[in-house]
């Protein structure tokens, strides 16, 4: 196999730039560096870029540029690319674990990982997670960095309906479902927040490159915050930790 970065064809409207194999912060940092560099440069004919774990998809308009021209421009950027991506935001997101309806898999996860449910919560809230990418549905963030003691494969039979705002884990990842949807991840709790809210100026809360920590809240806090979210008065900006 040729050395990275490696360019792959997606027809006449896109190509991808792969920076490595597997799910790795160093590899992803290069993806995000190219994502940011192209956003700054805005070359003619560039439509948009989609970052993922190890690759950046570069979408272009073949009537305004060509694969050859844009690939040359991208290759010229490689030398100057530094893996320190633009600083993402750091979020403290509230999660209610104290309700079996919210976290129907908490006990099973604890049993399979041979720890107490309290330990699962402490481990989950003790982590600092990195948003590698969004996908699958609008606003769904794949967050890496889950402690190895909680790594489990996805459920063998996915649920047909996972409630909106469920907080879940699978393998080395954690996520929050922005929508009610089918899903095979293990549900630990629920956030009163909406990761997607069409009524917000910025409907999608998280972006690739952001970091997330979770803070456990009581069912009372959950109820109070839910009311604010529903009334549109919740202050999402206050969830950002200022550095």
């Amino acid at each position: 196999m040729s050395a990275y970065p490696q360019i792959r064809s997606f027809g006449d409207t896109a190509f991808s730039v792969e920076f490595g194999d597997g799910i790795d912060r160093g590899v992803n940092a290069m993806v995000m560096a190219l994502h940011a560099a192209l956003a700054d440069l805005k070359p003619a004919g560039l439509v948009e870029t989609i970052p993922s774990f190890r690759a950046l998809l570069v979408n272009y308009d073949p009537l305004l540029t060509s694969r050859a021209d844009l690939e040359r421009l991208v290759r010229d950027l490689f030398a100057g690319l530094k893996p320190q991506q633009r600083a993402g935001r750091l979020w403290r997101l509230p999660v209610c674990y104290a309700n079996e309806e919210f976290g129907p898999d908490l006990k099973e996860v604890a049993e399979r990982c041979k720890v107490t449910p309290e330990r699962v919560i402490a481990t989950h809230t003790g982590g600092r997670y990195f948003v590698y990418m969004l996908g699958f549905m609008p606003g769904l963030a794949y967050m890496g960095g889950l402690d190895a003691s909680l790594h489990l494969p996805r459920r063998s039979s996915p649920r047909t309906k996972v409630p909106q705002s469920s907080v879940a884990i699978a393998e080395s990842m954690t996520t929050i479902y922005p929508w009610e949807s089918p899903g095979g991840w293990h549900l630990l709790g629920r956030t009163p927040l909406r990761l997607f809210d069409a009524a917000r100026a910025e409907p999608i809360l998280l972006a690739a490159g952001d970091e997330v920590t979770y803070v456990a809240i009581s069912t009372d806090d959950y109820a109070a915050m839910t009311r604010q979210v529903e009334q549109g008065t919740f202050d999402y900006a206050a969830l950002q930790v200022k550095s």
Partner: protein, 349 residues
Amino acid sequence: MSAGVLDIVAPGLMTSVQDLGRRGHQALGMPVAGATDPLALRLVNTLVGNDENTGALEIGFLGPAFTVNAEAVRIAFGGSAKLMLTPAGGGDVRALKPWRSALLKRGDRLAIGAVEEGSVAYLAVAGGFAIPAFMGSLSTYMRSGLGGFEGRALKAGDRLPLNTAATEGDEREMADVIDYGSGPVRVVLGPQEDRFTAKGIETFLSATYTLTKEADRMGIRLEGDSVEHVRGADIASEGVVSGSIQVPGNGKPIILMADRQTTGGYTKIATVISADLPRVGRMKPGDTLSFVAVEVAVAEAARREQEKMLRRLIDGIRTALPDVYLDLNALYTQNLISGAVDAPSGFWR
């Protein structure tokens, strides 16, 4: 003051508001959606004097019927279906022509029949619909209930608000039809062609595939010879495009279409070239297709050629002859004149 509404009497099978798609938010997981056949959308918009990217009704398989609850509205239908106009207060039902603008008056009722060629057709209204854009686009993304008219396909009883009231004036028509191309569907191999055996790629490029019933705005599942992987069908999730051809573990290709998710975790053997996507998008369950591989530069050239064809069609749009009660004599004269004008000038020297 509202310019009035179209009252949807019957919704058709799958009628939704679409423009050329929601671009620029895929990094946040927001799908593009947009017209399955952007060529037809651009032309119907041009016929009524709209910007090409104006939101119009995309009609899947069976058209809607609506009553005009506005002073007047100028419409154009692009596609093949019967268009039956019942004038306000009754009177003779008359057929409207596709690819030609028409002025409808208050109380007029238009019923659009089954789509006869392909699977989609478009109805544009001059000035567009008075619907707020979501994330910069009017395209409906039905899976998440976003954009377009209430984020969904039309239902009976819907009232589609209009931006502008139309006035009497010349109607416009197309002089020629869209050439969607024919023959095998052209693809560029990759991005994961190295995850398939040589035999798998040969199968993919030689087999004839049939569109299954699982063919919609999200994607088209094909039935036919299974494509052999080297090892497994899973990859780390990555961005995908319209035309991406995923091959999951069962070896049956799936072509991703306008409502695709932004990312996917299956190996992709090839990508349909953008010039052939409208043709694929128009196909119906039961239709067959095969694939042929081309280079990226060939695909880009094909797209430029297609754009030239579209520009020619737009440049050829002309003032329409009145379509009512042309007597035979007038028609005969028109034909004679047009024959004389069209003939190579050398012939007459």
